[in-house]
């Protein structure tokens, strides 16, 4: 009897370990998390406009029905990525999340102090390389270190009224999630005589 009780105690102890493991591993294995859900909207590496939240058709839970959203899943495996977008002159905000859904970076149109978005996302290793060999085209870019190789970006833009929807959607459609780091190849230097 006492022996069985010991096994039960052991089971409870093991249950505690399972509890901790489940809680810690869920962000990597959940199948309804934001990262997985965003895969529905199109291939990775490009922004996709999410349908406006309406009763019965909400692309993601608890998105503001008054804001237009564009999402992009990215991977840094093939090098840093550059995000460019020309945004309308109204409230917008952008947030970068890692694969597990942690918010790595966020800004809005006022903190950005400009109406266009120009971000470079890089891992710490890629960032070191970028610092060693600066790319001139990135002078004006905001460079962000991402502590993961996969993640997603969500742009939110305020829609003032239904007539404004097209303007906002046009801006979001033109948003680039994998813009080239160098806008144009540097012209060859003339040989010194």
């Amino acid at each position: 009897m006492i022996r069985t009780l010991l096994y039960v105690l052991g089971g409870i102890f093991l249950g505690g370990i399972i509890h901790i493991a489940v809680v810690l591993l869920i962000p990597d294995f959940a199948n309804r998390d934001a990262w997985t859900s965003m895969g529905r909207f199109g291939p990775d590496g490009a922004f996709h406009i999410l349908p406006m939240s309406e009763p019965g058709t909400e692309p993601l839970p608890y998105l503001d029905p008054r804001l237009a959203h564009a999402a992009c899943r990215f991977s840094l495996d093939d090098g840093p990525i550059r995000i460019k977008a020309a945004m309308p002159d109204e409230f917008w905000s952008l947030a970068v999340f890692d694969r597990r859904g942690s918010n790595v970076y966020s800004l809005n149109d006022r903190t950005a102090e400009r109406t266009d978005i120009d971000l470079v996302l890089a891992t710490s290793l890629q960032l070191t390389k970028l610092r060693e060999n600066p790319v001139e085209a990135l002078d004006q870019s905001i460079v962000i270190e991402i502590p993961a190789t996969r993640g997603f970006v969500l742009i939110r833009a305020f829609v003032t009224d239904s007539a404004d929807t097209n303007r906002v959607n046009t801006a979001l459609k033109a948003a680039q999630c994998s813009a080239p780091l160098e806008t144009a190849p540097a012209p060859p230097q003339p040989a010194q005589p």
């Binding site: 934001a34 503001d64 947030a95 942690s102």
Partner: protein, 190 residues
Amino acid sequence: MRLLIDLAIAIAVAALVGFGSAVLVLDRDSLFGAVSRGPWTAWPDSGSPDADPYSKAILARSGEVPLGAGEGIAFLSDHDSTGSRLSGRCNYEVSGQTPPARLWTLTAYDGDGQLMRNPIGRTEFASREILRREDGSFAITLSPDVVPGNWLPVDRDANLRLVLRLYDTPLTSSGVGDAVLPAIMRGSCR
């Protein structure tokens, strides 16, 4: 034989305790990091790398994308200012002041967090478009029936959940502190 039975008991107990407790905890709103002001609750750390593991797991299961600190903050309410559950059977008036923010929206959901169908297709109000009194204060009326003024239609047979989203607000950097949020007063019920 005895050993096998004991082992089976231990494993059954472990699975029950481990998975059962995890599901129980993760099926609810986040326990930690909640900041409440009146009927409103916000989770400023939700989605941040500093969030506790439970909040992260709950977020991953819900599939929400929380507002980043640079975007804004969302306050949620299931109750009126007296603490009663919000119900579509009653009228409510959301009124008063909002903390400073460049833009805010007030959205009505049912108890499951879904937007509600209604004849005028309105699910939210934005700060720019509400009718205000002369002193700048406002009142938004939640009701299943048409009411004059700022009418936010709701389903009669649903529990309600309100979400007030403040965009570009100092609350995200300085903390919620003693921010004053709108009151939710119950009117007539049926």
